[in-house]
Symmetry: C2
Amino acid sequence: MITRMSQLFLRTLREDPADAEVPSHKLLVRAGYIRRAAPGVYSWLPLGLRTLRKIENVVREEMEAIGAQELLFPALLPREPYETTGRWTEYGDGLFRLKDRKNADMLLGPTHEEMFALTVKDLYSSYKDFPVRLYQVQTKYRDEERPRAGILRGREFVMKDSYSFDMTDEGLDEAYAAHRAAYQRIFDRLGIDYAICQATSGAMGGSASEEFLAISENGEDSFVRAVDGSYAANVEAVVTQAPEPKSVEGLPEPQVHDTPDCETIAALTSLFDVPADQTLKCMAVMVREPGEEWQLHGVLLPGDRELDPKRLEASLEPAEFRLAEEKDFAEHPFLVKGYIGPKGLQANGVPLLADPRVVAGTTWITGADEANKHITGLVAERDFHVDRFVEAAEVRAGDTGPGGVELTLARGIELGHIFQLGRKYTEAFDVQILDENGKRAIPTMGSYGIGISRVMAVLAEQLHDEKGLNWPAEVAPYQVHVAVANKDAAALEAGEQLVADLDAAGVEVLFDDRPKVSPGVKFKDAELLGMPYAVILGRAFADGKVELRIRGGETKEVPFDEVVSLITQ
Amino acid sequence: MITRMSQLFLRTLREDPADAEVPSHKLLVRAGYIRRAAPGVYSWLPLGLRTLRKIENVVREEMEAIGAQELLFPALLPREPYETTGRWTEYGDGLFRLKDRKNADMLLGPTHEEMFALTVKDLYSSYKDFPVRLYQVQTKYRDEERPRAGILRGREFVMKDSYSFDMTDEGLDEAYAAHRAAYQRIFDRLGIDYAICQATSGAMGGSASEEFLAISENGEDSFVRAVDGSYAANVEAVVTQAPEPKSVEGLPEPQVHDTPDCETIAALTSLFDVPADQTLKCMAVMVREPGEEWQLHGVLLPGDRELDPKRLEASLEPAEFRLAEEKDFAEHPFLVKGYIGPKGLQANGVPLLADPRVVAGTTWITGADEANKHITGLVAERDFHVDRFVEAAEVRAGDTGPGGVELTLARGIELGHIFQLGRKYTEAFDVQILDENGKRAIPTMGSYGIGISRVMAVLAEQLHDEKGLNWPAEVAPYQVHVAVANKDAAALEAGEQLVADLDAAGVEVLFDDRPKVSPGVKFKDAELLGMPYAVILGRAFADGKVELRIRGGETKEVPFDEVVSLITQ
């Protein structure tokens, strides 16, 4: 296949687009792969569309390899199924909602658990039909608050979403493992540097869940990795490694001290000359379980740790929380700002939520529940009782992960997410299947997504250099870029012959045959567009030689006659 | 490629869906190709998606063959460009409109002239870049008042739309001719019985325009064909073959007659004992040019013809019309109901719009503008003057078309539409291109569409029989359906060998390997699903023979050993 740049609908830009901040966005626009149509909404120009389709096909091959069957759901969906699962409301402003001419509520699908569950219910009724794995490559819509970075976070985007349906939990485990392995093969084939992160399942519901994150300093997601690569997790999913509980026997009794104007951890550590991790930060927090009233809770953290609201949110889900405000303090006069302690909270019936490090037998300096007073030697599970351990403290580089490994912080871009949903959706739609004993059973479900258009941005982000893009051969729009940079008619003729020979050998070729464009511009365009190989018919062509440039690698002068065999090998 | 029916996500139905009226809808649902998600919105199940993709690829091949380049625009679009061309409003309730979280107006694209014109403006600036032909295969949205017949008229549907941009009118003619020929190749390859109809260009604007209509009694569009196939046209586009004007010299003077209670054409022809086509129907009609007031007009038709409102509408466009109502009669007291005549209208300054048959020298019996009086011998262009000829009369089978050919009426389904748009859109967006002389010029544009998902419905509609679907080989989900209908283990084993051999020979095979399904059900499913060939390993397998069934054709018993070579030949 040969595409001639003299014909190609393309204009490369020398300047970065004004709204672009990250390299992938700048380069994909400058190289004429994508073009903005509206905020967070992009058009795919010919080169971009070819790359997108090739990524789709890599994903398709690996999905077919695990026995998943492709179908295609509409993007325009009725409200009712999403009402049934509560997501019509839960999605908030993130959902594009609209009304049709008959005033019926509709939405643009952000994800399709509802539709797949309903279709399986429609078509299947016996355990013999299971397991089944289904997928689609489809255009999705989310009204992102901050669409950014071109196709990295768009409002209209292409996604591969698959869904597994199994009669047993073991079946779900298998489907999950099969998808996990397929995703590894996909991202390995694409040459992406990624980590598989333990994740919380959030609004999707369900149990096990992992995220595939591309390592990128421009990523929006922070995550945590073991320095030895043995472990990675979303910050929300990091489990604090708590010390073993100790006996409280023989520990000294607590003592109350006058500590005037000592309302911060810093003041406290300075006053008692101890490290901050021996003090206990005691925060008043309001928590609301779904459908209930706000209720006062205490959150206990080692004094050297800040509260990470996202971690506490994930830990408390589905309950929500907020820090106590003036009115809450006013309603609970036993709360003495700057001097709150676990004893006073517990004495007033306030549930205590604590960092896992606050185990039995640990000793703390904390507030004495009186103005200008602190208490030392307060022992967990002797002087106060933790009602529930929560992951609320910030995670820091140098923290210890599972097995004692040292953790570092990293940033990443979400490529994919796999979920064990369980029966949340199949129960919502009452998907009843007759089991081997003729009894009704509800199948269990998994949901697995890859952001196809985002993968393209990630490839641009991870593999570019200062000169331009650099595609892996498998998804490059063309494998070889041939440029004639010699005004000699024989060179152009030889170029024609070369691209014909490459085409005959099954190589996809982008041919820069533009007659009035300078060699310098042709070289710059070749680097910007980023095909894996470029062949330049330049000055040395007079000596029967051409340049073979490996994008991001070496440049060799090779005999013209050998270039086809060098490339096809 | 082998797909096993024991695994395939499919359930065939014996009953027609309750909401289905036409065969394509019934069969595509019963055979598990599509499934309804909302009114006019369908999901593509595995078999349906395979067929859809194959149709897309036939279209792609022919578009690439005429040098069109594929790109892909979003479906979610900003309001502004459609505001610029007026289509934000013109589309009325047919447009899906929505607001994003920032309250910006957006729409779901019904067609993309605006976006393509804007993108060409963005990328190109010199005549050297032209001509350019661009296309996309994309999901479109129209909020149809009456979505019907499954994917025949859906609200979310797949369309191929292409756009040509040329610097000269001759270039546009070439682009139009290239698309016309490509469309013929596409529909010929698909084996569709179709007609190319002259069309009016309607809301799209522009000049030349033709529709590709699939001949179908379930079609929504009526059209007119020459009995010899030399001509076809939309009813709106049929041009009346008018007689030559005649001299008015020596014709008798008109005479007024008392005609009490003679307010219909039937009464008039009976009274004067003449054929209806010698009488002149004279109708009071209100016409409004864009931005102006309603104005009274007379419409003159031969008495044997009814008014066809769609034809008059197309003829008057962009003006609109309505029949005069009581208030209009009240405002124009010279209008005498049942006795209106052209003389009285003209005397009162009312413009006369006439059927082309009302040429100079024709003689008519018509109203005398007085109650209970008619006039005979009224001669066109002697006693009254036609201000403008319009196509307002119904078209009938037996009418005469261009070159005197006899016309018949037919029904069809619109498969595609090609338009010479001219500069309507490029002017709206001020697409200025430097021409050979360095002067600014506006390129001229063509727009060409094929309803891909509708083509699938048309194939089902034209090619089915009472037993089921019958796909052309090029777009069938699989070329061969192999069914084991013999409980002998050797038969199943032979079936496995056969599908492996067919697969090795590059044939796509659907393999009915379901162990507990009866031969009868397997035969019925094979017919319903409609692959071009079915191979049945049945009773005769004991004698080394299998049945080779050509869908919709003959069934032969052939030696098992020969079946692969028979199919691949």
